[in-house]
Amino acid sequence: MNISQQIVNGIFLGAGYAFVAIGWTILLGTAKLVNFAHGQFYMLGAFIAWYFMAAMGMPYVAAGLVAVVLMALLGAVMQVMLRGLVYDQKLTSIMIVTLGVGYMLDGAATLLFSGNPQNFVSPLRAMRIEFADVRFTMQDVAILVGALVFYALVWTVRNHTRVGTAIRAIAEDAKLAQAFGIRTGRLYIATFAFEGASVALAAVLIAPRTPILTNMGFEEVIMTFVVVVVGGIGSVGGALLAGFGLGLFIAFFGALVSPAYAMAGAFGLLLILLAVKPEGLSRG
């Protein structure tokens, strides 16, 4: 086993996991909302971008942008639908509704795009790089750079802007935020739109690795759960670290044990951590 290669694989994998998880962690930390359609959002982000490239002939970057915008819209629409339930704090219902929406998206995507695997071609994948005895592609670099830049942006907005401060206020006490004149309804919509946009962006960068299918997204969901729970709910720095940690774990587990059971291994890790420390690793 080439250790340096595994480390590099782990880092790129981890950047991907962290990227997929950031929207979810903000949504959960702020609005205390669980989006069980997350996996389908990821799938749709990939398929929309693929569609605009393959069927409409758009270049990769433009198609990616379209996917991000459309998924942001979808997220906003979802939040508007959920508005009453959010106000009444009916968390179980919210979870089930997002699950139902995810299922609808699954059916709709298969109808629109067919159930066959599609090749989501990114020009960056062809650019291979060899360095010492490790190999990777520009796609991997794009994921890593993209994740780091995105995280830096999120961190800055969250901690140094008025909107970010308002979101943290809502996370602490949504009712009190209203007394402060903060329009919580709009910020919830923005948060959900952010979730849609960020997972779509992650999909555009990560999904080209393998052929895409309309029933995909479940592995990403597991990884997101692990990242969010391990990193501490709502913690941006925690999610980034957890993502890299998980990436390294998966890379080495896959190489040492078996790639087919890597997800099971990650889940087992999550269970152990939960049993030992239910609050996750970060202050949250």
Binding site: E172, K175, L176, A177, Q178, A179, F180, G181, I182
Partner: protein, 241 residues
């Protein structure tokens, strides 16, 4: 005297029980009205209803007006933006945010007509301890400092009417006196304030009018002097102190 805020026939229900009923209120500019009553009489409920805010599932009926305009349909955050600022009882600032961040959150009105304008500098001048602690998080502040911050944030929002819900809770008596005197100065400068207080004695020193609630109904509504002069009621509320 122009009425800034008024409400008519306010009724608030939580589930099957009625918290307050048949309450009318007129709050003029430059005046402070004290809302007194025992625990559970409905004082906080009234203040919350005026602000359109509540922590629990309250059902509010009645009409509310701001400067003559009907605002009954406005949400809590909209009313706050329109100038009805509530400083709730208990948790009224964000503990995980710093003093500066709490202040940053405040929505500063662009149109300041009819509003009581207050700047951050004035706030720090009024409450110097907040200036010293500006980088500290809410949970690191003392009870008095939190109250100062809460009231300060409400003032920064340019209130037309300020609703204070039990500002004296958990504060040392000397601090209570200081705080209420600061508020009185603002009233003298034109601010309209509704003061909900359990500490009747302290409230009486600064209010113009008194409204007494008992089991959700108004049992007395008159000037502070009338309140003190009414032996029966005064004895009930001031007797033990």
């Amino acid at each position: 005297m122009s009425t800034v805020f008024s409400c008519r026939d306010v009724r608030v229900r939580y589930g099957a029980s009625t918290a307050i009923e048949g309450v009318d209120l007129d709050l003029p500019k430059g005046r402070m009205i004290g809302v007194l009553g025992a625990n559970g009489a409905g004082k906080s409920t009234l203040a919350n209803a005026c602000a359109g805010w509540s922590r629990g599932p309250a059902r509010v009926t009645g009409s509310f007006r701001l400067d003559g305009t009907d605002i009954t349909g406005l949400s809590a955050s909209e009313r706050a933006r329109q100038g009805i600022l509530l400083v709730p009882e208990g948790k009224n600032i964000f503990s995980t945010l710093t003093v500066e961040e709490n202040i940053l959150l405040v929505n500063r009105p662009r149109d300041t007509s009819g509003r009581f304008v207050f700047s951050t500098e004035q706030l720090y001048a009024l409450f110097p301890r907040l200036a010293e602690r500006r980088a500290h998080k809410g949970h690191q502040l003392s009870g008095g400092e939190r109250q100062m911050l809460a009231i300060g944030c409400a003032l920064l929002a340019g209130p037309k009417a300020l609703l204070l819900d039990e500002p004296s809770i958990g504060l040392a008596p000397r601090l209570v006196v200081e705080l209420l005197r600061s508020v009185r100065k603002l009233v003298d400068d034109g601010l309209a304030v509704l003061l909900v207080e359990q500490n009747a004695k302290a409230a009486l020193e600064v209010v113009d009018r008194v409204m007494v609630l008992e089991r959700g109904r108004v049992v007395m509504d008159g000037s502070a002097a009338e309140f003190v002069g009414n032996d029966k009621i005064a004895a009930a509320y001031l007797g033990g102190i």
